[in-house]
């Protein structure tokens, strides 16, 4: 199955609004079965790309393959296998949560009306909205609306989920639940394409990542691949400050001081040197290590370098 390797594949995807290019020559390749993070600051072209993937907007140029079919030509056969949350949930405020889902389910001509109620209830259950199923949606909180939007994406068994900012408006508990949900769906073999402007979120959920900046795709690969592009750091807390400094220098690193006499940090700038080796060297030299922290926060530095913008690291 060489062709079916990718759930999403684009070539030279471009969307121009007038002379402004919102999406510029994007080549995405999302392997099947992955949880794929689509990262970029607000306004970097993520949502426009997703709209084109789903056939909502026409590409100015370029090609899109979703699952097995070209888009938007094969939308009829491809989209039933794709669940989506695009630019936040949208609801009929005068309908109940359940009626909202029934409405969207009816729009898909492939779903069976016989199983509709069962599937709607299962989706509500899955996002924890069963208790509010009969409540009018205009009374829903932002988080409940978000859950309803995710439930809509889960109405039928999907091969691909495209979730645009799925944790928007959710409290930390809700965010955790969504993360869990994504993991369990991924375990079932569903490919999940998550867009976010939150680095931490993507880092926690995704095995692969693509980074958008100002309409262009600036990086794409596994987390490790991207990390390797930058450098990891170690942070050592120790009363034996001078010894630690000596050991780190001896390993070829450049220790950095932070004005405290018990904390020392260093970039792992030596090729092949792993944080655990650093720790072993410290222990061997009888340095009393009170705390040792290896941080991949370097990923953030990497993205700042790529996009020229900082990320909202906090959830």
């Amino acid at each position: 199955m060489s062709v079916g390797d990718y759930a999403i594949e684009t070539h030279g995807l471009t969307k121009a609004f007038g002379r402004q290019k919102a999406v510029d020559d994007v080549d995405l390749a999302v392997p099947r079965g992955t949880v794929f993070g689509f990262l970029g600051p607000n306004g970097s072209g993520k949502t426009t790309t997703i709209r084109m993937l789903l056939g909502l907007a026409a590409a100015s140029s370029g090609e899109i393959r979703l699952l097995d079919g070209g888009m938007p030509k094969h939308a009829r056969t491809v989209l039933p296998r794709v669940g989506a949350l695009v630019e936040g949930p949208a609801i009929y405020p005068f309908l109940s949560g359940r009626a909202n889902l029934q409405r969207f389910d009816a729009a898909d001509r492939h779903t069976s009306p016989a199983t509709r109620n069962a599937r709607v209830d299962a989706a509500l259950e899955r996002v924890g909205l069963s208790h509010a199923a009969t409540k009018r949606a205009h009374a829903y909180s932002l988080g409940m609306k978000q859950r309803l939007g995710i439930a809509n994406a889960l109405l039928a068994p999907r091969d691909l989920l495209i979730l645009d900012e799925p944790t928007n408006g959710l409290d930390p508990q809700g965010t955790r639940e969504v993360r869990h949900l994504i993991k369990s769906l991924s375990d079932d073999g569903t490919t999940i394409f998550v867009s976010s402007h939150l680095l931490a979120e993507v880092e926690q959920m995704c095995s692969m990542i693509a980074v958008m900046s100002a309409g262009r795709l600036v990086a794409q690969g596994t987390l490790d691949e991207l990390r390797s592009g930058g450098t990891a750091r170690v942070r050592v807390t120790t009363p034996d400050f001078a010894d630690a400094h000596r050991v780190l220098s001896g390993l070829g690193l450049t220790p950095e001081l932070h004005g405290r006499d018990d904390v020392i940090t260093a970039e792992l700038s030596v090729q092949g040197l792993l944080p655990e080796s650093v720790n072993a060297a410290l222990v061997r030299a009888d340095v009393r290590v009170r705390g040792f922290e290896a941080s991949g926060a370097s990923l953030e530095d990497r993205f700042v370098a790529l996009t020229g913008e900082g990320f909202d690291v906090a959830g």
Partner: protein, 287 residues
């Protein structure tokens, strides 16, 4: 690419006709408070007419006022006809403007349009379903006026065999058949306006704008239709046969208006339907 063959596989359940979507569309339409408010307002027209005539009835037929008004005191069933004559030029187009103008623009405004399309509803299918929903509303709205008129008329006035325009008399069952035909005629009359509303609705994401534009067009067409200087234009106006429903109250029924009206409305449906298709099938859904 060799994978094209795999594309046709996911046929999970039949029903590509869009019937489920149509049922859903109708359910959503009639679950809205707004829809019922409009139907209630339409029902108020015959009630108001009947009550006013009953209260002020002093037996002097003045010859003024809307058609059939003077017949009400003798036969309550005429309330339906008076109410229709009053509702056709203004109230019905207004409510149809609201429903037809809301079809696409309303969904776009809520953002639900993108989820319907991603489902995927199919753009042409959605357009057809939306139009069918608007058409059904036309029929329900008309029927509301007719039926409420008959009920309130029967409650407040004597009823009996109905005198047709030709002077012949039909019994009550025959009259109800004609009332049903009348409701059909008025529904057909409003189909052109619905198509115009549907097209305008694809142009914007602001439903109120589409509603106002549609209702305004109905008013403009009627004004143009009243100007004798534009007589050459009259046969092309979608409002031209709006009051031609009276032909169904002749004996024998004169079908010319019905046929001419249907043909005219069909023309409007074809023109604005294809315009709506052109617009909606090429539109980027950015809301």
């Amino acid at each position: 690419m060799p994978a094209e063959s795999a594309v046709a596989s996911p046929s999970r359940a039949g029903g590509g006709l869009g019937l489920t979507l149509l049922v859903s569309e109708i359910t959503v339409l009639f679950r809205r408070l707004r829809t019922w408010a409009m139907i209630g307002a339409l029902a108020l027209i015959p009630i108001l007419i009947a009550v006013v005539v009953r209260v002020s009835s002093d037996g002097s037929a003045s010859g003024r006022g809307p058609a059939f008004l003077n017949s009400i005191t003798q036969n309550g069933l005429f309330v339906s006809l008076t109410a229709l004559t009053v509702a056709i030029p203004l109230f019905l187009p207004l409510t149809i403007g609201v429903v037809a103008g809301d079809t696409i623009a309303g969904e776009a405004n809520l953002g639900t349009l993108r989820y319907l399309l991603v489902a995927p509803a199919g753009r042409v299918r959605l357009l057809l379903v939306k139009y069918a929903g608007a058409a059904l509303f036309c029929f329900v709205a008309t029927l509301t006026v007719v039926v409420t008129g008959a009920i309130i008329g029967a409650l407040l006035f004597p009823v009996g065999p109905v005198t047709l325009l030709s002077g012949d008399t039909v019994g009550i069952p025959g009259y109800f058949v004609r009332l049903l035909l009348l409701a059909l005629y008025v529904t057909v009359s409003l189909m052109g306006l619905s198509a115009i509303g549907l097209f305008i609705s694809t142009l914007t994401t602001i439903p109120v704008g589409a509603m106002a534009a549609t209702a305004a067009l109905a008013a403009v067409a009627q004004i143009l239709g009243a100007l004798p200087q534009l007589e050459w234009l009259h046969p092309w106006l979608f409002t031209n046969y709006w009051l031609g429903f009276a032909d169904l109250l002749r004996e024998p029924i004169v079908w010319n208006s019905f046929a001419d009206n249907a043909l005219l409305q069909l023309g409007y449906i074809a023109v604005f339907g294809t315009l709506a298709y052109g617009r909606f099938s090429t539109k980027d859904i950015l809301s």
